[in-house]
């Protein structure tokens, strides 16, 4: 009837992941307990196929389902990042899930379904699709957070996340409703053209609804003041899930935020840029300042991820092509550094407690030289010291701000870098300079995990030294 094969082509990668998720759902029923690992292999395979297809379709441009979703380079780029994160997280999880006895099919199904939602979110071009995708992925995230159902913290974290998340969604849906009321459509292009000829009342209501919608997005990307769930949830969730949450939903969230602002809200760019200026500055400063006092590695990474969301908001605030490209580039680099750091957190975690105390890292640099060295690189990378991808990424983000004459925002950003160096380096101090403990704590001795750490470190260094081609791809991915 209304849809043709063409529409389906635009969502082939999403369909593939969904198909594998359903396959796992079915096959899981017949798998004996000791073979649950097969689900993981199947999930990996699905992700890999989807990545391959997305890369093959990278330059494909399509609008499908009456403009509800699009496929363009930006969505493909974001989808590749999301899928790579998923791939790594699944590998990271193997031994962890076995240890915690949660190696069951549901874990993979829910993860893949929320990946589908993220991919749809990255491709959506209509506020309705955006809302549905955000809700779907959130449900997956809530469940995954509470997956350690024997641990009170995990369940508590999930509950907290769920309540706050629902609250944020209500703002989002209100904002969408207002926009629909104003312009009679939820399509970004329609909103844009309606807005460009609008009177000042329309404009002010649009600004109001932009603020409401931003509450919803801000919650997803953990921007101040909608961040408060982040450290608690990261600390409570199973570590691979924290790692997953710290990147994948943000990739989709940032892309869709850019689409919404750059396409839909283009006529009020001056206004949203001002709002984002303030939010970005506060987010960076808050995340970095509070992180100074953290004693738990996962909580620290939680605050650090708030700070990094702030850095990326700088790129959007700049409102120029360099800034948007820099955000995409940063997300890609963030994949390596943050997953690496979370993998190390998982490495030092123990079954009995949450076990990611920074103190557990004492002497790591000598007990596990390679892991220690990798962690050192992740920390310097997160702090933005060359020759790492973290430095290059920040350089692009802040230079986009400078290009748009937002000098003070760039200065606030780099001062934040300096503040953050303190707590990131404190971890290096703990690993190398505080002597070795008498009874080294147990570690999760998992080969796949170690491989993830080392590949992460290599990626951080390689992109840090040769960022050229990736930067080109990231810059060209923004076509809207």
């Amino acid at each position: 009837m209304l849809y043709s094969m063409k529409d389906l082509v635009a969502i082939v990668p999403e369909l593939i992941v969904a198909a594998f998720a359903f396959a796992i759902l079915l096959i899981d029923l017949w798998l004996p307990k000791r073979m649950k690992g097969f689900n993981g292999i199947l999930a990996l395979l699905g992700v890999l196929v989807a990545v391959g297809v997305t890369i093959a379709m990278y330059n494909f441009n399509a609008t499908a389902f009456h403009g509800m979703v699009v496929m363009d380079r930006a969505s493909n780029f974001a989808n590749i990042v999301i899928l790579l994160v998923t791939f790594v997280v699944i590998i990271m999880g193997f031994d962890f899930l076995n240890r915690e006895n949660i190696n069951i099919g549901e874990y993979y199904e829910i993860m893949l379904f929320s990946v589908v939602a993220m991919m749809v979110l990255a491709s959506s071009y209509n506020l309705i699709t955006i809302f549905i995708a955000i809700e779907t992925l959130s449900i997956g995230m809530y469940i995954l957070t509470g997956f350690l159902k024997n641990k009170n913290e995990s369940v508590e974290g999930a509950m907290k996340y769920f309540i706050l998340g629902s609250f944020a969604s209500s703002f989002l849906v209100l904002g969408i409703g207002l926009l629909y009321g104003l312009f009679g459509s939820a399509d970004l292009n329609v909103i844009k053209s309606g807005l460009s000829g609008a009177d000042s009342l329309h404009k002010w209501v649009t600004i109001l609804s932009f603020l409401l919608i931003f509450v919803g997005f801000g919650f997803k990307i953990a921007a101040f003041p909608f961040h408060s769930w982040t450290p608690d949830v990261y600390a409570a969730a199973p570590t691979p899930v924290s790692a997953f949450m710290s990147i994948a939903p943000k990739v989709a969230g940032f892309l869709v935020l850019m689409r919404f602002l750059v396409v839909g809200m283009a006529p009020i760019q001056v206004e949203w840029s001002k709002v984002l200026w303030i939010i970005a500055a506060l987010t960076m400063t808050f995340g970095n300042t509070v992180a100074l006092w953290q004693k738990d590695l996962k909580r620290l990474l939680g605050y650090s991820s708030i700070a990094h969301a702030g850095y990326m908001l700088v790129g959007i605030t700049a409102a120029n092509a360099l800034g948007y490209g820099a955000v995409m580039f940063y997300l890609f680099g963030y994949l390596f550094m943050n997953l690496g750091a979370f993998a190390v957190a998982e490495f030092i975690s123990t079954k009995e407690d949450r076990g990611t105390e920074i103190e557990n890292l004492r002497g790591m640099g000598y007990r596990y030289p390679l892991i220690g060295l990798a962690m050192l690189m992740f920390m310097f990378c997160l702090a933005g010291v060359p020759p790492t991808v973290g430095f290059i990424g920040k350089y692009y983000l802040f230079s986009a701000a400078v290009k748009s004459h937002l000098y003070w925002l760039a200065v606030i950003g780099v001062i934040n870098s300096a503040i953050s160096a303190y707590f990131y380096l404190n971890i290096v101090v703990t690993m190398y300079m505080k002597g070795e403990p008498e009874n080294p704590p147990a570690v999760l001795n998992s080969l796949p995990l170690k491989i993830v750490v080392l590949v992460g470190a290599l990626g951080v260094a390689y992109i840090g030294v040769f960022p050229g081609s990736l930067l080109d791809v990231a810059l060209k991915s923004i076509t809207f």
């Binding site: 010291v385 350089y395 400078v402 000098y407 001062i415 160096a421 380096l425 190398y432």
Partner: protein, 518 residues
């Protein structure tokens, strides 16, 4: 221009890095082998850096031994390296001093020897990279990269307060350099705004200065970053900590080379790129430099710890270098560059000397020593040479540098020149008092009776330093003749557009004065 038709600068810079990678595969139990291997690499690196000196063409200010490869094409950043008469000697100083510093650690560093040598090689790459970079993005990358090895060196092999010292060192320097990062970005876009080209090529940026009103903030941002590194008073507070806690080799490299990055940065960025602001701020910088000269000297006088004394004398000596630079005269500028080398040699040597006695006695307190002249005469002699060189006694390298700086200061700011002339007096006071209490007088502490005199290894690394003390002291023209044209060119760039006037005195174009020496 690359007269050797061979990427010699890259080879010099990245050979140590390659060595570090190789060492990673050696079993850490073979400590001696690692020491020899590292030393070998550093010596080879020094030897292959010598052609730079001999093939250097002193008749041109253009960059030499240039290599240029596109790096990040979308933004136009290049791997662009080369040296001129200003950076040539800093490169050579680095390749000369690092093997010496490494040799001094053979006994002093016993734990984690493998990691230590990897760090030292990595540092060598970072330091050389700063001096050869001609693309400001590349410069910034190297500038920050070399923070990592120094941070590790102080933090892992340092003294009891090492963690505090290394954190203070890192955060202080990092905070300054991130501001420079914003300035670099701004320079990149503003330059495009005024000249229509996006470039990070430092040579190009030096030749097209921005309008005076744009220069102010850029000048200040670069100023803060470099002033912290030098360090100029009042940005010096990290330095004594870092020096006292660092292992001997760390102090040698910190004083000898890392601090020079600050002074070098002024020569490469502030002076040629922001000439108007350089003139506007010259007096302020000179005043800060003079405060530093006296402050460093006064604080050094009351130090009970030899190493801390030498550290504060660094603040004083680099004050001279800054003074000579901002006097904006040919002779002062040459003196300033020479002073950088002198400081690297003399202060480096003093730290080595402190290290030698510290290795034997595990204390650096002046009061613990006394009467060393009769116990370890060879050491006392070496120590005296470097003490005199640090005081700038005629015949030593220090004299030539400080004399030229004073001359330069007299030419443009006579009053300040007169004030500074007294600074030399104070440096004699603190150095000689310290020398007297350590080396002369009677042996009061029985623990000193078993002191051994210098070993063969210590001879090997002290002798070359003595050689340069007298070479520069007696025939500085070897060095001055190579930097003259580049300095002339730099001054021409700095005096090019004087659009801001503060007082009529400062904007007089400075005459080029060539002083015959030797």
């Amino acid at each position: 221009m690359n007269q050797l038709h061979f990427p010699i600068l890259s080879l010099i810079t990245f050979l140590p890095l390659a060595g570090a990678v190789l060492i990673a595969f050696i079993n850490e139990k073979n400590e001696n082998f690692i020491r020899y291997f590292t030393f070998g690499i550093l010596v080879i690196d020094f030897i292959i850096s010598l052609p730079l000196f001999f093939a250097f063409d002193p008749s041109t200010y253009h960059m030499q031994f240039v290599e240029r490869v596109p790096w990040i094409k979308s933004l136009g950043f290049q791997y662009y390296v080369g040296v001129d008469g200003i950076s040539l000697f800093l490169v050579l100083l680095t390749t000369f001093l690092t093997p010496i510093a490494q040799l001094s650690t053979w006994k002093a560093v016993n734990k984690k020897v493998k990691l230590f040598n990897i760090v030292i090689l990595f540092m060598q790459t970072g330091m050389l990279g700063v001096f050869i970079s001609l693309d400001m993005f590349l410069f910034y990358v190297f500038w920050e990269v070399q923070l990592i090895p120094m941070y590790l060196m102080i933090g892992i092999w340092g003294g009891p307060n090492r963690v505090f010292a290394t954190m203070k060192f890192f955060l202080y320097t990092f905070a300054g350099s991130v501001l420079m990062m914003v300035a670099i970005m701004a320079l990149y876009f503003l330059n495009h705004h005024y000249t229509g080209v996006y470039t990070s090529d430092m040579v190009k940026l030096m030749s097209t200065p921005l309008p005076a009103h744009i220069q102010l903030w850029l000048f200040l941002a670069f100023f803060v970053a470099f002033a912290i590194k030098v360090p100029m008073w009042p940005f010096h507070t990290w330095l004594p900590w870092a020096h006292v806690e660092a292992p001997t080799a760390g102090s040698v490299l910190l004083a000898g080379i890392l601090l020079k990055m600050g002074t070098y940065g002024f020569l490469r960025f502030n002076l040629p790129m922001f000439p108007d602001m350089t003139h506007a701020f010259a007096v302020l910088v000179i005043v800060l430099a003079i405060i530093g000269i006296f402050y460093g000297a006064f604080v050094a006088m009351v130090q009970p710890d030899i190493k801390k004394l030498v550290a504060y004398s660094s603040v004083s000596h680099l004050g001279y270098s800054m003074l000579g630079m901002f006097a904006l005269t040919q002779v002062g500028m040459e003196g300033s560059i020479l002073q950088m080398l002198n400081h690297g040699i003399s202060t480096g040597a003093l730290f080595l000397a402190v290290g030698i006695v510290y290795e034997r006695r595990h204390t650096r307190l002046i009061s613990e020593y006394g009467g060393l002249a009769s116990l370890v005469p060879v050491f006392a002699t070496f120590f005296m040479i470097f003490t005199l060189s640090s005081i700038a006694v005629p015949g030593t390298n220090g004299f030539v540098g400080e004399f030229m700086i004073l001359l330069g200061a007299f030419l443009s700011h006579p009053v300040y020149g007169i004030i500074v002339a007294f600074g030399g007096l104070f440096s004699a006071v603190y150095m000689l008092t310290m020398y007297k209490r350590v080396v002369f007088l009677k042996v009061t502490n029985p623990k000193n009776l078993d002191l051994e005199d210098m070993s063969k290894r210590e001879w090997i690394y002290m002798v070359p330093l003595v050689l340069f003390v007298f070479w520069i002291g007696l025939y500085p023209n070897t060095f001055l003749s190579k930097m003259r044209v580049s300095v002339e060119h730099l001054l021409k760039q700095t005096n090019r557009t004087v659009q801001v006037s503060m007082t009529s005195k400062q904007i007089q174009p400075v005459k080029t004065v060539v002083v015959k020496k030797g």
